[in-house]
């Protein structure tokens, strides 16, 4: 799939490829996905994966696959998307268990947010997070995002974290 590729200190963020499906399947059917749309079957996982690919195809942007610079293997997905039913553009992140605890999600999400502000001229982004998803809440707060009780919710997800705009994010 064609689309922009980002590089950070340790990471490459690139559009998804068919071979990324197996690791996505492992994640999205696991307990780690309990707050982010866990599914039970291979078919449901494949469709969820194809929805993200479809977002790339329809809009020219979407969740990037995150890899280390030394390998093309997917360690997660981080990026901005705006599917039907989401009131605003959302910055989201999923990191596989093997890659956790190294600050990779933070590094990728900061790069994705900066890219969105620079390339699309967006003035703000939100992250929709389940109240029990403590790790994601910590990441949002580390990025300077704050709970926005006035924001419209998406998919019955109760917390909307609002990111600082282009000026505040630097």
């Amino acid at each position: 799939m064609s689309g922009p590729v980002l590089e950070t200190e340790r990471l490459v963020l690139r559009p998804p490829k068919p071979q990324d499906f197996e690791s996505y399947l492992g994640f999205i059917t696991s307990d780690r996905a309990q707050y982010v749309g866990r599914v039970q079957t291979r078919l449901a996982a494949w469709k969820a994966f194809a929805v993200e690919a479809g977002h790339w195809s329809l809009h020219g942007y979407g969740p990037w696959v995150v890899t280390l610079k030394s390998t093309d293997r997917s360690l997660g997905q981080v990026g901005v998307w705006h599917p039907e039913g989401f009131p605003e553009r959302e910055l989201g992140w999923l990191i596989w268990a093997e890659a956790e605890g190294k600050g990779l999600a933070y590094e990728a999400a900061m790069a994705a947010r900066d890219h969105d502000y620079r390339v699309y001229g967006t003035k703000t982004l939100v992250s929709y997070i389940e109240p029990d998803n403590a790790r994601s809440i910590r990441l949002a707060e580390r990025m300077g995002a704050v709970l926005d009780p006035a924001a419209e919710k998406a998919d019955e997800i109760d917390f909307v974290y609002r990111h600082p705009g282009p000026e505040g994010a630097r």
């Binding site: 799939m1 998804p16 068919p18 499906f21 079957t41 291979r42 078919l43 996982a45 494949w46 469709k47 994966f49 194809a50 929805v51 993200e52 690919a53 479809g54 977002h55 790339w56 195809s57 329809l58 809009h59 599917p83 039907e84 039913g85 998919d155």
Partner: protein
């Protein structure tokens, strides 16, 4: 990249959200969508819509949006379809309400079948159809497809209809 091809009355092209999603959402709000995993609320209909395009990225092929040449209107979809868990690659089709009864499904499926054989190098193709979906069964029959076996997909039983192969199809067209 998703190619654009055509038949006598239809253009088979990539999906565009601005023009194509609203009719697809309307289809998935209707009872007729029960044969396609519906009815579904708008956000879920969008996910089904996005899979049509995402299928191309994941498989390298996928369904086309159907545009009526005479009006420029989006009238449905047809094309190669092989989601994870299906027994084999197939040709699917779906028409919006206003496009029924004109032979568009047969015309589009036939063109998509040729695309499968000529451009993708397929040597065989099927279509999976729920036994209660009379209109689609008649399309399969018109195309010369023959019921071969059934398979269970979640809670629905799908009948698998085998299309004419590349040689037989070329002979019919000639």
């Amino acid at each position: 990249m998703i190619p654009t091809i055509d038949s006598a009355r239809l253009v088979l092209r990539p999906f565009r959200e601005a023009t194509d999603f609203a009719p697809v959402a309307a289809f998935f709000a209707s009872e007729r969508s029960a044969f396609y995993g519906g009815p579904a609320p708008r956000p879920e209909a969008w996910r089904k819509f996005a899979v049509f395009s995402g299928h191309w990225m994941v498989r390298g092929y996928g369904p086309f949006a159907l545009e009526e040449k005479a009006s420029g209107a989006f009238v449905g979809l047809a094309g190669p379809w092989f989601p994870e868990g299906f027994p084999e690659p197939e040709i699917t089709w779906m028409l919006c309400d206003g496009a029924l009864g004109k032979g568009y499904a047969t015309e589009a499926a036939l063109r998509a079948l040729r695309f499968g054989y000529e451009d993708l190098g397929w040597t065989t193709a099927v279509s999976s159809i729920v036994a209660e979906n009379g209109p689609s069964l008649r399309v399969a029959e018109r195309l010369g497809a023959v019921h071969e076996y059934d398979f269970q997909m979640g809670d629905v039983l799908l009948g698998v209809h085998r299309h004419r192969g590349p040689t037989a199809l070329a002979e019919v067209a000639a």
